[in-house]
Point group: C2
Chain length 568, copies 2
């Protein structure tokens, strides 16, 4: 393709709102342009890389036995009312009315549509399992779209669905998809982890997120330094590792801590570590007030609290509540003499503690030599805290490290949630009606593209992996006004194309510096520069990533490029 006739326009400056590399570089290099907040168009270069990612996804889906289809973006409200999500999905679901005032959703996901299609088509166990997928623009009205393609309001997604006759069969489909996802992200050259995740809004149970490791990721992953264990930090259980103390319990004392506001200040004042203080936080769990006690150096994980109570809503109590129940504000709470109306529960790590400190439910005072069990009653000990770096890995192998991740894929075991609500049944081999079991599997295709750029860039621009780059070769004619340069470049352009090599040809009448800068920004793996030695038939070949370069003869070029790509 000749660059002079391509819709591409590079920028010297980063867009004002672009905080991260992929956003900056994809806009600056002319791959994408913003149309509205969180809404992007893909210019020709961008569309080419998008298509390469898409084809990898398509090949792996086909290999997994899923069939491609294409559902509509317009979805009648009635389907979402059947599943119940019309009311629960909230403001993220974009909605509109047609000319007859009929309500529609713009597809944020397609569980409802596919379930309605399958329930009308598939009636027998003989036709299960079934796996389908589509690659299609999705719409979600993010409250705060940001980071370019990472969190947009219209984005390209691959969504797949499995329909199974049993959970055993679902597990098999899930495994196939899990493998396909690993293949996709591996082929995209990404450093990623499959992590145990929360099922959130989708209503599923067993679920993994595929996370690309990146400092700009919005999620924190807890992973083992020796095994392949990885989980969203919110989901990682903490092994109960407490061993009894050999210290003798001393007598409870009440001490004045007049100016000490934080736990650290109290610990410093009393001359002990943060781990020797108790942290007490009051929650309202549905209608029950709960005082959660952890070690001072631990953080309460309210998802674990919610799961312990099997609750719908967990909120922090208000300071009004603590005053009326405990007679004090947040800073002086403690479990000693807590009233019966409040549940006192504590993290496993609290149980073995001896002679620790806690708030005295009285401003300006703390108890010291507090001993759980002796000085206060604990209704239940449980895993209530966030895992920390250095904790033993929950799978028993190695220790936990943290990393940030960009979620590029998600596999869910949905179970019967949609099939039950929408009445998707089949006749089993006994002729008995059964509800289908479903799985749902998503890949953010445009987000994957951005994640690749996050992992493949340097100070001069993008450094695409060989199989994702928009073109294989960037051919530069340094001074096309010179006849011998133009002629050699034109010849090479023809020869490369004839050899089936994807080539972008910078035939513009621009300064050499502009061309080199644009080429580095684009990130095409191999640059071929036709310059001063054109009259000898010699050109410069340079690798974008390594910076290695060599002068080659015109007749060596094709072989060189093909060999290089075959080795990737």
């Amino acid at each position: 393709m000749k660059q002079s006739q391509m819709l591409v326009h590079t920028l010297k400056e980063n867009p004002a709102d672009a905080e991260i590399k992929s956003h900056q570089l994809l806009v600056r290099a002319g791959y994408i342009r913003q149309i509205a907040s969180g809404v992007y168009s893909f210019l020709p270069l961008g569309k080419r890389v998008l298509r390469k990612v898409e084809e990898i996804v398509r090949e792996e889906m086909d290999k997994a036995g899923a069939h491609e289809m294409l559902m509509s973006a317009l979805q009648p409200a009635e389907l979402w009312q059947e599943s119940g999500r019309w009311n629960t999905y909230g403001a993220e679901l974009m909605r509109l009315r047609d000319r007859h005032e009929r309500e529609f959703a713009l597809g944020a996901t397609h569980e409802e549509v596919i379930t309605s299609l399958v329930r009308d088509s598939i009636k027998s166990y003989k036709r299960l399992p079934l796996m389908v997928y589509q690659i299609q623009n999705k719409f979600r009205d993010e409250k705060r779209p940001r980071f370019g393609l990472l969190r947009g309001r219209e984005f390209l997604m691959k969504d797949a669905y499995s329909f199974n006759e049993s959970f055993e069969s679902l597990n098999e489909s899930y495994e196939k998809m899990f493998t396909a996802y690993s293949n996709v992200f591996t082929r995209c050259g990404l450093d990623f982890r499959a992590v145990i995740a929360d099922s959130g809004q989708m209503g599923g149970k067993d679920t993994h997120e595929f996370m690309v490791l990146s400092e700009v990721g919005e999620d924190v992953i807890a992973y083992s330094d020796t095994s392949d264990y990885a989980a969203n930090v919110e989901m990682a259980p903490v092994i109960n590792q407490s061993s009894p103390s050999d210290q003798e319990p001393a007598n409870l004392e009440k001490v004045a801590t007049p100016d000490q506001k934080t736990m650290q200040e109290v610990a410093d004042f009393l001359g002990h570590s943060l781990a020797e203080g108790l942290k007490s936080i009051m929650f309202k769990v549905d209608d029950q007030f709960v005082l959660v006690v952890t070690r001072g150096d631990h953080e309460v994980n309210d998802i674990k609290l919610k799961n312990l109570y099997d609750a719908d809503i967990v909120d922090l109590a208000t300071e009004e509540d603590t005053h009326s129940l405990m007679g004090t504000g947040f800073g002086s709470l403690g479990p000693v003499n807590a009233p019966d109306s409040v549940d006192v529960i504590a993290d496993f790590a609290v149980e073995p503690l001896v002679n620790v400190t806690c708030g005295a439910n009285e401003a300006g005072f703390h108890y010291t030599n507090v001993n759980p069990g002796r000085d206060f009653h604990v209704k239940e000990y449980a895993d209530l805290r966030f895992i920390k770096e250095g904790d033993p890995s929950p799978d028993g192998n190695g220790h936990i490290k943290f990393a940030r991740g960009i979620e590029v894929g998600h596999v869910f075991k949905l179970g019967r949630f949609y099939a039950e609500n929408m009445n998707a049944t089949f006749l089993d081999d006994q002729g008995k009606s059964q509800t289908m079991v479903m799985g749902s599997y998503g890949i953010g295709v445009s987000r994957t593209l951005a994640a690749i750029v996050e992992q493949y860039n340097d100070e001069r621009g993008i450094t695409w992996p060989a199989n994702i780059a928009p073109y294989q070769v960037h051919l530069l004619s340094l001074n096309p006004k010179k006849e011998e340069q133009k002629e050699l470049a034109d010849q090479l352009y023809e020869q490369l194309q004839a050899a089936g090599i994807e080539v972008l040809y910078d035939d513009r009448k621009e300064r050499a510096g502009v061309k080199f800068a644009d080429s580095d920004l684009f990130g095409i793996p191999i640059r071929i520069t036709v310059g001063k030695r054109a009259s000898e038939g010699v050109v410069e070949v340079k690798e974008r990533t390594s910076g290695e370069q060599a002068d080659l003869n015109q007749n060596e070029i094709i072989h060189h490029v093909q060999t290089w790509y075959n080795s990737k």
Copy 2:
């Protein structure tokens, strides 16, 4: 692909709302399913044929030098306000508000978005011409969606745009696109015509529609029986072919026609042909009342009237208007003694008429022996009527025939409409700022698919052209319970796939009759049936379209199929 695991479900009955073959067959054969009125999902079989059409379009666009990109479906209202179409596009444009109450359109077409992208990227004549395209779902809230994929509210479209520095350059881009379109529809096996068309809502001037000839088409095409002339019937000019009459003018007479309401009744009553009467119809052209006179057997074409007056609005006058201006109602209007406030204009065919009949502007009376020019003044003779079958072709070659057509493509010379409204300028080779000249080029991809089915079907189902069919071979195992049949079919399935042949394998445990009926409905060009002679290694091979069949040995199959497809 194994049919037992595919999301497909054939129907015995036509859907109640399906009036035409493509709608009936695509639904019955399980290619598409309706999600809401005018909104369809493509099941796996449908997606495969859609993709084949898409790939043909993509290849021809690339060959024409257009670059693929992908714009967003969400388009901010501001862009449509800039072009002026936010107000003029009307109820067909689907609109919505985001969570911040910002207004958006769902892309019905993308002139605004592409113009905004190009004006921000391209500043110099050196970067023109530029051609881009995308293949993407479009949204139009049709008042009356019907005919399945032919007139839907969400549909797959290829839209392309050219940006040129001059009209000469636009003509070149237009020619390239015209050729690409002819290639696309030829490769799709369609019997089509490129016809001169009205530019309608798009604001363009020179424009052609690509029409697939079909009885169910919503447009009428006037075409020459000997040349390649073809035009939308509304657009075809009529050659002035009138020759002077040798009849002697007789004296004007007023005759009573008490019970004759229609022109035919008057003609019969007075004993002459319809062509010997004058038809007089009153229009309001902007603010001017105009009495248009044509021969009794001709129909007024109000587009021609509008163009003659270069008017914005042409309406029929009300009967109140004719009473107040002419002293009579619609049925008795005539040009004799028309008041000066009314323009009398007449079709060319009226000029040479001698001794004809017209209304007397008095209920129950007509004039006979009327002679234009002598008995009434004609302000202007012009081409004012619809062309008729049998008229000479406007290009001077042959005579006109009518056909109905399905519009599958449309090429427009937009000129400077969008570029002017949206300020898309460039610097020319003199450094002077100029407004860009644009072209716009659309193909209804999903509609093309439906048009193919309209031309390729028989009483048993679809009969796909070889390069559009979802699979190349439909392999049937008639009785998979019999080991030798299952074994041979499984072997053939492997062998066909290994040879790179696309094969759908009906491995279901269904009756032979069901399998044959489904196979005919699907329309895959070659059917291979493994039945009773499986033990001898012999299978039946049948061509879907011709019905030709032969028994072949297992080892002859691959060669037979490859030879057949190579000959297509």
